[in-house]
Structure formats: structure tokens, C-alpha cells
Symmetry: C2
Subunit: 209 residues, 2 copies
DNA sequence: CAGAAAAATGAATGATTATTCATTCAGAAT
DNA sequence: ATTCTGAATGAATAATCATTCATTTTTCTG
């Protein structure tokens, strides 16, 4: 690699780092003030930088928000894939791994959840948001459906369909995220996990007894 | 009742009607544009009235939003009580009635859901919102817990605690609302109901077989 | 019907805030 | 050391929007 290329690399890396810094500041601001009262000044000062900085790096507020949502979505996708690949390679273990991930502090974190819900709350109004979060939702749903179908086939369960189990589990997860976001003091990670495990034990007794 | 009082009544009723008209317009605007880009002009023209009308009736935008959330919350509370009182007076039937209500079009309606999620998305930032929606959430949770506990006691179930069942069912409901809001085309009311009923059959087999 | 009171209007105001841009700064190239 | 380049600043600008208020319209009263 030539020196010129290396310099350009360094520039590019610094640029990227600044963008991520601004996105992190945006996440904090959305959590603190909500989408509707968050201003670009808030973001700049949260990042310890000056007024014009966001437009310099992101051109517009709209674009900053899109990139922020994309960043949070990618972050989740990566954790999801990692959880899947680290789990024992049985459908039951993989299913459990995904459900546990969704309650881990690295996912079930009030700042990140605030971002998800802020955008979900506006998704009807903004196709761009719907597109970004829709991709993650879609993949998540497909993977869950396959895992549930595999568990059901393996156990020969006739008490539930893959669709019903998927619907129940994904809905529960979303609902728990909401509780975590809006009732932080009373919400209890362990109780949430118990509820999920109780479901699994009742519906797939041979796998989670 | 004297004529004066009657007249004042008429005035008061007209005033109330206009306020409700404006709240209805606000709900539509929140659903269409999201909390963050909804303006008072939008609300006024959605209602077919003029610029200054909102401040005339609600003093401020902030107040309009609070009243709107309160209205949606009261609407839910009323439907909830009605569903409870109409159901057969057994815990199992009452529990099912509540869960079915939550999927009925009169509750699971994209406009109303958009309002709930818009405010939930901002609740961390705005204590006023948290207070209003918190009351409903709290009551809901308490009622569900009692119903689950009664069903469990009646059936002598030992496979699940009232807490876990409540957590599972309320979370599922919230999650289904979210799906209904953000995936309107693929979301399916009947599949959601199936998932809930499947849960009930598996966990409380003697009651929902 | 006249006049008073209330409701509604919509143009004007003021505050907020996204965006622009002339200027400064830091560091790389020559 | 000097010049050049891209990054960053922050004051100025422009747009948006909540709010106000003088005026008009509607409704009620005697």
C-alpha cells in the first residue's frame, strides 16, 4: 500500500469516527429528549462540538436520523448473528440463545430501545424509517419461524404451530422491550426471562423441561 | 332546570364537541405525520377550521397533546371495563374477554395505536406523558395479574406463576399492537388471536381446551 | 330586531432551529 | 518554512411554526 493511500485511509477513518461519535450523541439525545424535541444543537453539544458540525457530516437532520436508525439496526443484526453462531447447533439452543440475547443489557438497553420506539412511533409517517426497521424485523421473523419449525418437527409437537409460536415469542419480546423502556423501575429482567422460559417449558416440554 | 342553565349547558356541550373534534383531528395527524412533524396548522386544517383554533380551545400545543393522550387512554379504559363487565363472570372468561378486546378493531386500530406508540416513544423525555399512560398500564397489569391468579388457583396449575403468565400475556399484547402498527399489510388479526389462544390452551389446558 | 357575548378567523408576531458560509485551525505536502 | 487541503467553527440567515390579537361572524338575550 502506498503512502498516499495510507494517508487517505487515515482521513477516511477519522471521518468515520466522527460520524459514529455524532450518531452516538444522537442516540443519547433521542433517549433524553425524544425525537420531537431533539435539536441539532443538542446533538452537537452532546458530542462536544460546534453548531454546524452535523450538517457538515450528514448534510441534513433527516439524513442524520436515518443513519442513526440504520446504525442501531445494524448493531442489532450483528449481535443477533453472533448469538446464533455461538449457540450450540441445535434448534432449541439457538432459539433460546436468540431470546436470551433480546433481554441482555446490550440489546435491552434504554438508550437503544428509546431509539427503536421513537422511530417505530413515527414509522407510519416516514417510509424511510419503515424500510430500515422493516428489514431487520423481516429477517428476525424469518429466523424465528425457522427455529420454531425445527423445534416443533424435532419434538413432534402437535399442540402449537410454528406460526403461533413465532407470533407469541416475537410479540413477547417486543412487549418486554416496551416495558423495559417505559417502566424502568418496576421492570425486571429476570421476571421477563422467567416468563419466556415458562412459555418454552409449557409449549416445548421435551426440549426445555 | 332553568333556561339559563340549559343555555349554558348547550354552550358547554358545543365547546366540548369542538374540543373532541380537535382531539380527533390530532389523533389523525399524529398517525399521518408523527408527533415530531405534526403542526397546529395540520390539526386545524384536518378539522376544517382556522389557524388559531387550537390555542383558543387548548391554550397550547403541549396541552393539546396531553389532552389527546388522556382521551385515548380514557377510551381504552372504558372499553376495558365494558369488556370485563359483559363477560361471563368466571376468571377464565374474563381473561379471554380482555385479551380479545385488545385485538378488536376498536382497540387495535392503527390511528389509536400510532398515538400510543408516539407517546411511549417520548415517555422517557416527558413526565406528563408517562404519568397519563402509566396509570392505564398499571391498572391493566393489576387486573391481568388478578385474573391470571384466579385462573391458576381455580385450576390448581403448577406449571406457571401468575407473574409469569401476566408478563407473557401483557407483553404479547403490546408486541402485537406494535406489529399491527408497523406491519399493517402482513399483520393478521386471526393469527394473533390464534397465538394467544394457543398460549392459553397450553398453559391453562383445563380452562381453554 | 338590536345589541351583547362568545366563538372563530387569519394576518402579524416572535421564538426556535435547521442550514449556510466566511473564517479559523491543524496537519500534510513540497 | 510555506503552501495547501480538508476539518471545524460559530455568527448570520432563512424557514418553520406556535402564539397573539384585532377583526369578523355567529349565537344568544331582552
Amino acid at each position: 500500500m502506498g503512502e498516499v493511500a495510507e494517508k487517505e485511509d487515515r482521513r477516511a477513518r477519522a471521518r468515520l469516527a466522527r460520524r459514529e461519535q455524532l450518531i452516538a450523541a444522537t442516540v443519547k439525545c433521542i433517549a433524553r429528549k425524544g425525537l420531537s424535541s431533539m435539536t441539532l444543537s443538542d446533538v452537537a453539544s452532546q458530542a462536544g462540538l460546534s453548531q454546524g458540525i452535523v450538517n457538515l457530516h450528514f448534510d441534513s437532520k433527516e439524513n442524520l436520523l436515518n443513519e442513526t436508525l440504520r446504525h442501531v439496526a445494524d448493531d442489532y443484526r450483528i449481535q443477533f448473528q453472533r448469538a446464533l453462531s455461538r449457540a450450540e447447533p441445535t434448534p432449541a439452543a439457538r432459539l433460546q440463545a436468540v431470546l436470551e440475547l433480546d433481554l441482555k443489557p446490550s440489546v435491552c438497553d434504554r438508550n437503544k430501545l428509546a431509539v427503536w420506539f421513537a422511530f417505530w412511533g413515527e414509522s407510519k409517517a416516514r417510509p424511510a424509517y419503515r424500510k430500515i426497521s422493516g428489514e431487520v424485523d423481516q429477517d428476525y421473523d424469518n429466523d424465528m419461524k425457522r427455529l420454531c419449525a425445527d423445534v416443533i418437527e424435532e419434538g413432534g409437537y402437535e399442540n402449537v404451530t410454528a406460526e403461533a409460536a413465532t407470533e407469541a415469542l416475537t410479540s413477547m419480546t417486543y412487549g418486554m422491550w416496551l416495558s423495559c423502556l417505559i417502566n424502568p423501575q418496576s421492570w425486571d429482567r429476570k421476571a421477563a426471562k422467567d416468563a419466556i422460559m415458562s412459555y418454552l417449558r409449557n409449549v416445548f416440554p421435551d426440549h426445555y423441561a
